[in-house]
Amino acid sequence: MALSKQPIAFVGRSLPRLEDRPLLTGQGRFAADISFSGQLYMRVVRSNFAHGRLRAIDVSAALAKPGVHAVWTATDVADIPPIDFRQSRVEGLDHYRQRVFATDVVRYVGEPVAAVFASDPYLAEDAAELVVLDVDELPVILNAIDEPGEFEPGRRTEPAIVRKGYGDVDTVFSTAPIIVEAKFSIGRHSGVPLETRGAIARYDGERDVLELHGAAKVPHWNRDQIALMLGRPATSVHLYEGHVGGGFGIRGELYPEDVLVCAAALRMKRPVKWIEDRREHLIAANHSRQQDHHVRAAVDRDGLILGLEDKIFHDQGAYVRTHAATVPDLTAAMLPGPYRIPAYRAAVHIRLTNKTPCGTYRAPGRFESTFVRERLLDVIADRLHLDRVEIRRRNLISTQEMPYARPLDTLGTKIALDSGDYAALLDKALVATEWSRLQESLAERRAAGELVGAGVALFVEKSGLGPFDEVRISIDDDGIVEVISGSASVGQGMETVIAQICADALGVDYRNVRVIHGQTDRIEHGMGAFASRVTVMTGEATRVAASALKAKAIEAASGLLQTPVAVLDVVEGKVVRIDGAGPSIGLDAVARALSLAANVDEPGLSAEGSFRCNHMNYPYGVHIAVARVDRDTGAIAIERYLVAYDVGKAVNPMLIEGQIVGGCVQGIGGTLFEEFLYDERGEPLSVTLADYLMPTMLEVPSVEVIICEDAPSPLNPMGLKGAGEGGANAVGAAIAAAIDDALGVPSAVTELPIMPQRLRRLIGCSERSGLLDRSRTANSIS
């Protein structure tokens, strides 16, 4: 509508981040950087048995140490209820929630049993080592596929089975020409952010407010829970999110330690600070991913999938934490991916084991199910002697069928694939890698003795989880725009993205927009940052609020300039005439006028906006990997990696690319290096970063990213979809396929992580039995 000279829009540009300056200059405020005078330091005492009856805890030696203020055990916090579920509550799970301390049974190494509060963190740790546990060991359950055992009298270690499906699976399987069966497993790993967890609680007696600093991800929900658990009104609990050193789904959920520091601050009337060390993080922060799948497909002779059935064993660890059945639910819901799958049935057995409890980790349920589904497609292709790309094409949902209602639900929404041209994106990815030429060159290299191959994997992601988001935007007397949201930042750059959207809708420079997040005392409600929701939900709410604010500013300026509203616009922070003539007035002046004016109904220049959406939206992508296996050592090198991803509408392409590359490298970690291992007594073996190996710069390829906007979402006016998780989603599947291809062994990879030792054995066997056919050509293994 505006005809005046508009600056270039901010949305769509790879602009530098607003977040960077303090982080580059050492001015960050991460949890460990926050301190209050008089604070006590909390050190948690943790079970060193995976399963046992906790007979007694002797804290006398710890209490006797100078500088130790108190030592708590379960009896000190008996009134605090177990930590409740935030998402995907399912009947039967309640009894498996975790209390702040173990009471009479310990169920995993790392479970909190006591806490020392001391005037110095070194002293607290010294004292914690003096706490003596008297534990009678009990047998351990370490495998989700073993028969369930006893959790407590009357309850087994299979709290629930999540079932999803549609269509007549039994008839399909009994009449199909071909049945293909396979077993796949994904190893236990997790987000492991570089900053460990931390929490600092402080009770302000003057205002009767309990403060928790070091919050992240879902501060409003956590505030409500803490208030409930400690018997306070929610308005008397404030959570503060500072800088957050990565979340990935793991950080920010409500953990026992968060509740403990709050209870301690309230009772001891001193601030209480807790910062975990790396060993604690590796055994006590949420693990993820570990599942076993027994899957089968009913297929016709052309490779069309007629039906899919999956029996899944989900290793939940010792308790069910805030995510309840989220990961099992998403696994089952997203398994069909971008393919038609006329009949489907999944049963996810949630199994408790004596290991660290589990939660969501970047692309939860999808990293796992994409691995299974794409591997299964490769098995089908190999069985039918079909090209692995071709079989995917035949089963893909076409763009003409969008929106495609999948008769499944998850996270309180019905799955309806909103938009997408999967075949076109596949083509773009294949063209970008010059697929035919690549196949030829790989065949030549194999003929010369190298073990090298390429793999493709497709996936559908989910993003924009609602149902609701709201923001308030105000302009101060200096023209600075402040967007107050109930979202959170885990380092992804949301302040910049929201500022860009606000800037375009309001008519200001994005550098003059401050975005507030994670402060529960600045806005009543908030959904936080997870499920790749912020750009979509907070972004749209921001656009609505900014548009409303622009209209308000123009309305007010119209009076001040004695100019009709219809010929006014806001450009670069000023209300101007669209024909460029006449006087203009800065937004700062408009704000000042509204604060000084005596006869104004609503003083100040601010507006609210909200966005509601009951459906998630569905971005999608293609991963292509080229991998080389060393014949002698089995070591895997990723020579090339490409991700093609349709994001609907890209607000800041540079940030999207950053998310995809970052996710991809985490995916590589989970595919090749990372695993939480336990010995036969349930003792964790991956307790330092020298055991739990994460990729360094040397292990990772340069990831090529193609960002597409061919399928904007019809579910929000800007067409936005989220980008936080697509980089991780298909890495296991793509690399596994590449390794199958490199070795010339169908289903060489059925388990993650892929171990060089296993590949060496496969290479050895294949060479002996002559299966390693060097003259094998393009992408079909037979």
């Binding site: 790879s14 530098p16 981040r17 977040e19 960077d20 300056r21 303090p22 982080l23 580059l24 200059t25 050492g26 001015q27 960050g28 991460f30 460990a32 950087d33 301190s35 100078p66 070194y122 002293l123 987000g191 492991v192 952010p193 570089l194 900053e195 460990t196 800088h243 957050v244 050193g245 990565g246 990935f248 060390d277 790396r278 885990v490 380092g491 992804q492 750059g493 540079m654 940030l655 690319e657 950053g658 590359v661 970052g662 996710g663 991809c664 490298v665 985490q666 330092t688 970063l689 020298a690 994460m694 990729p695 360094t696 710069m697 040397l698 990772v700 340069s702 990831v703 980089g727």
Partner: protein
């Protein structure tokens, strides 16, 4: 409880006289005794490199050094890179190239790169990657960190 020693840490040109136990790590002394919290702790066992500072110009894992070992030594941390409000070449390189997301590993990388480029301004790309593999990042996937380091190296060689 071990005896305390009085030591002097010189950080970014400023001296701090502090009293520490012999077991106190350098990173804890920098952060808590001297109030310079820009240097971060990621593992305390010398793997992640988030705690990297320059001691006498050399990149050091300050979680693996005791404060008493740094007595009288010249220490540089991330807080000393900018000149007032003006970011230096390397910091600008990170900003222009989206070389940070959560920012937790960033101070460690900045000091590592500063240390290596000051000593070897003509370092080969291969060697640079090898040195940078000393530090972990969980957010960026390293691509843009390398881009930023190359960009800064080129800029620094130009001047």
């Amino acid at each position: 409880m071990s005896e305390r020693a009085e030591i002097t840490l010189t950080i970014n040109g400023r001296t701090y006289v502090i009293s520490v136990e012999s077991r106190r790590t350098l990173v804890d002394a920098i952060r808590d005794d001297c109030g310079q919290t820009g240097t971060h702790i990621g593992c305390e066992h010398g793997v992640c490199g988030a705690c990297t500072v320059l001691v006498e110009g050399e990149p050091v894992r300050s979680c693996l050094m005791f404060a008493v070992q740094a007595d009288g030594k010249n220490i540089r941390t991330v807080e000393g890179l900018a000149k007032g409000d003006e970011l230096n070449v390397l910091q600008r390189a990170f900003m222009e190239n989206h070389g940070l997301q959560c920012g937790f590993c960033t101070p460690g990388f900045l000091m590592l790169i500063t240390g290596v480029l000051e000593r070897k301004p003509n370092i080969s790309d291969e060697h640079l990657v090898e040195v940078l593999s000393s530090n972990l990042c969980r957010c960026t996937g390293y691509q843009n960190i390398l881009k930023a380091a190359r960009w800064a190296a080129a800029e620094m060689r130009r001047h």
